[in-house]
């Protein structure tokens, strides 16, 4: 590790203290301020989507449904899906932690295109406002997948507006992806070679490629859907000579890579946290990096595993099943490498590490049930049931949201210059882990016994497991609400953070917390390998919060 020591600077010199006006925030081109804008925005969306989920779990307490109408329920799960996928999970880590940390980690002053970065936020907010308007004036009842002919000819929801909102937010993703690719190629500090990049950077590089290559396909698909609904052009409607399966191919050609858009940044965060809190070099750096790239490439050839029962060619299904197993191999490699990193380490259990360990557990469960669904004959029985719901929530919520919270706690001192209250952080991590399993473990069993997803009412035999799941959801909700209180509290009352509170090796920890607007006082020169953790001289648990 470099021995550069940077004085504790006053907050007035940091990016937070430069100016305090609203205008200075809304017209900023500083990647750190834009990251904070994004953080506030997606937190809002996370809770909107979460409230929809709470109503859904409430409705499913009784077989006939607590809500007055089935249609309300359909609108709720569509809202939950659309908001959580496109307005939380897809942007989540890249636009917040990625936006904040990428220039700091590679020793740059900012992203390559600071104004495009700001434009990305405005596109996202515009898309989000359109989406929220569509949801609140009447809603959409066709599910986040927008399958025609339900979405084109039969539904009377606000499909066009909703599609427009998603379309806009897609351009935000493309802009962000482009910005990251150029930044990582051109703005690395002297000595920051490709093999010295943290895995967090490699993950974001892979994600950016997916953003740029996959999102335009979503844009085209949504445009076709838009024109079909508005003008009766018939690319999909069989009455007009169209093909319903074509929509599904186009949609999943984006939406499967999108699953990896959602999880790869999580892998990046975990690959930073585990070595730091194990105080040991990441096990098999090259393998973890190549696994990220392999996932980004193979993820483009597995989309058909969403369509095993939808009427695509049987032989296509066979190929897609094989490719789905292929993409699972690099994911498994990563899990083994994280566990290997902890071997012979000096493990501390601060909140980010608890989230990371939770991530490994939940992601492993979600990943393994992915093998069930990639298995063709098993998928015929399990697809379209709660088994699928449990599977992707284990990966997306258990995995990705845990990684997001872990990363947020990890970099919170860097972003805000304050330490969060450690005991509250650990308590929330534990409550989220327990609540999550209580909510979604019963859904695996529900799925096997046949309960279909997207059901507003259900046969009474499924009630016990549904009540268990809803009870778990209230614990989970508590876990998610806690950080909403103690993190903002720490902004004012938390102890000031030093430049490197975790004793981590990344370049972002070499500058003050919070960093100055220019990120570094002098251009850093990198002379050390990534994750250059040496065994500590003293074995006692260090007090990092003094």
């Amino acid at each position: 590790m470099s021995s550069t020591v940077i004085d504790r600077r006053e907050i007035a010199e940091s990016y937070l203290g430069e100016k305090f006006t609203l205008r200075s925030w809304l017209l900023t081109t500083d990647h750190k301020r834009i990251a904070v804008l994004f953080l506030i925005t997606i937190t809002g969306f996370f809770f909107v989507g979460g409230i929809a989920a709470a109503f859904m779990r409430w409705n499913l307490l009784v077989p006939e449904g607590m809500l007055r109408s089935d249609e309300t329920y359909n609108r709720l799960f569509t809202m939950h899906g659309v908001i959580m996928v496109w307005f939380f999970l897809v942007p989540s880590i890249p636009v917040t932690l990625g936006n904040f940390c990428i220039p700091l980690m590679i020793g740059a002053r900012d992203l390559a295109f600071p104004k495009i970065n700001l434009m990305s936020w405005y596109l996202f907010v515009t898309g989000g406002i359109i989406e929220l308007y569509a949801m609140f004036v009447g809603g959409v009842d066709v599910g986040w997948t927008f399958y025609p002919t339900l979405s084109t000819n039969y539904s009377n929801g606000f499909i066009l507006l909703s599609v427009l909102g998603v379309f806009m937010s897609g351009f935000s993703s493309i802009a962000t992806g482009l910005n990251f690719i150029v930044t990582i190629h051109t703005l690395r500090a002297p000595g920051m070679t490709w093999t010295r990049l943290p895995v967090f950077i490699w993950s974001h590089y892979s994600v950016s490629v997916l953003y740029v290559l996959a999102t335009p396909v979503l844009a085209m698909t949504l445009a076709l859907l838009f024109f079909e609904r508005l003008f009766g052009v018939g690319p999909f409607d069989p009455q007009l000579g169209g093909d319903l399966i074509l929509f599904q191919h186009l949609f999943w050609f984006y939406s499967h890579p999108a699953v990896y858009i959602m999880i790869l940044p999580g892998f990046g965060v975990i690959s930073e946290i585990i070595p730091c809190f194990s105080h040991k070099r990441l096990f098999g750096y090259e393998f973890v990096v190549w696994a990220s790239i392999a996932i980004a490439v193979i993820s483009f050839f597995v989309w058909g595993h969403h369509m095993f029962v939808s009427g695509q060619s049987l032989y296509a299904s066979v190929v897609f099943s094989l490719m789905s197993y292929a993409v699972a191999v690099p994911s498994a490699i990563k899990v083994f490498n994280w566990v290997g990193t902890m071997h012979k380490g000096f493990i501390r259990f601060d909140a980010p590490m608890l989230y990371a360990i939770g991530f490994i557990g939940l992601f492993t469960s979600g990943g393994l049930t992915g093998l069930w669904l990639a298995c063709l004959a098993a998928d015929v029985h399990l697809s379209q049931t709660y088994f699928v719901v449990a599977h992707f929530h284990y990966v997306m919520v258990g995995g990705m949201v845990s990684a997001f919270f872990g990363g947020l706690h990890f970099w919170w001192p860097k972003i805000t210059g304050r330490l969060y209250p450690e005991m509250w952080g650990r308590a929330a991590a534990l409550i989220i882990f327990i609540g999550f399993n209580m909510t979604f473990a019963p859904q695996y069993i529900l799925g096997y016994t046949g309960m279909p997803r997207r059901y507003a009412s259900y046969p009474p035999k499924f009630q016990v497991l549904n009540v268990m799941s809803s009870a778990g959801a209230s614990v989970l909700a508590l876990g998610y609400l806690l950080p909403l209180f103690y993190l903002p509290w720490s902004l004012f009352r938390g102890p000031r953070a030093t430049a490197n509170p975790w004793d981590a090796t990344g370049l972002e920890w070499q500058t003050s917390s919070p960093p100055p607007t220019t990120n570094f006082y002098a251009t850093p020169v990198v002379t050390w390998e990534p994750y250059d953790y040496k065994p500590p001289e003293r074995l006692e648990q260090r007090d990092y919060h003094g």
Partner: protein
């Protein structure tokens, strides 16, 4: 609490074997990962004075070992799943065909003998049953969890599943593709009966005419017979024996005359024109209901049967 799901068709035991195998592999992997996590968390906690020894710098042997092991386990799972899947969706010859039409929010079932019912499917035990399914509006999905079978039901296409019910009883039937407001009410029951009971049930619910007979009436009343009966000036190809045989098209290709082809030829006659004929037939798209279409196709298929015998 009832976590049990009946095992009631020829596919159910096989699919359950696959699921049990997946469960065992997954549990083993979970135990391994959690076991290691827990051990390391205790043994290598920061305060632990244990001697860590030298930390391995070269990791590729371990990496190659676990990558290869994972890969071979995955290939095995893939092969087994694909093998059963291809069986599930390729009906064998000699099935009893039952027509299923999905409509928001009900299932219309029609039997070869002309019997009809809604949201209930009666099948005999021990016989190969094939469902020929289409939809009148949006995409539905026909699923019988106790049989471990499911397939989407699409407008404008015929999709098919087959099974042999093993155990007499009453089982749940669900629509599992979101189809609108009352999607979750689009449920029904499957009744599997002993062959003798089934015969009795068919007779009690006997219909005035079979599908084929009704189709023959339509064939005449819609004017199809004017051109397609093979007599007089030949303006149209004869339909005797056409079902299940290859048909040469005017663009030089050949197509197998299955249900989908017959349907398309009635609704969109200009799409695939038979070689050496002029496309003069009018389209019946929008002029004929899906139920009537089923009858016409049943009749045309029966013509195929006559000539081959």
């Amino acid at each position: 609490m009832n976590f049990h799901l009946p095992i009631a068709s020829n596919f159910a035991p096989t699919v359950d074997h696959i699921l049990i195998c997946l469960l065992v592999i997954s549990s083993a992997m979970m135990l391994l990962v959690f076991g290691l996590l827990w051990t390391f968390m205790v043994k290598y906690r920061a305060g632990s004075p244990i001697d860590r020894g030298a930390i391995a710098e070269r990791t590729w042997r371990v990496e190659v070992a676990w990558t290869t092991a994972t890969f071979f386990v995955f290939i095995g799972l893939f092969y087994w799943g694909a093998d059963v899947y291809l069986d599930e969706y390729q009906p064998p010859p000699g099935t009893m065909k039952i027509s299923v039409v999905g409509k928001r929010w009900m299932w219309k079932i029609e039997y070869p003998g002309g019997q009809r019912e809604i949201d209930e499917l009666h099948v005999p035990v021990g016989r190969k049953v094939q469902l020929v399914m289409t939809s009148e509006d949006v995409i539905h999905d026909f699923a019988i969890p106790a049989f471990r079978v499911r397939h989407d039901v699409l407008p404008g296409r015929y999709e098919t599943i087959w099974f042999i019910a093993d155990v007499p009883g009453t089982y749940d039937l669900y629509c599992t593709r979101l189809c609108g407001a009352e999607h979750s009410r689009m449920r029904g029951t499957v009744v599997a009966m002993q062959p003798a009971d089934y015969q009795r049930w068919l007779e009690q619910n006997g219909s005035s005419g079979t599908l084929v007979a009704a189709g023959q009436d339509l064939f005449i009343s819609l004017g199809c017979s004017g051109c397609h009966n093979g007599g007089g000036t030949v303006r149209a190809p004869s339909l005797y024996g056409v079902y299940g045989s290859p048909v040469p098209l005017s663009d030089g290709t050949t197509v197998m005359a299955d249900e989908g082809y017959l349907r398309d030829s009635i609704l969109y006659p200009k799409k695939q024109v038979v070689a050496s004929f002029v496309p003069v037939m009018p389209s019946f798209d929008g002029k004929i209901s899906d139920a009537d279409l089923e009858k016409l196709i049943a009749y045309i298929k029966s013509l195929g049967a006559e000539t081959s015998q």
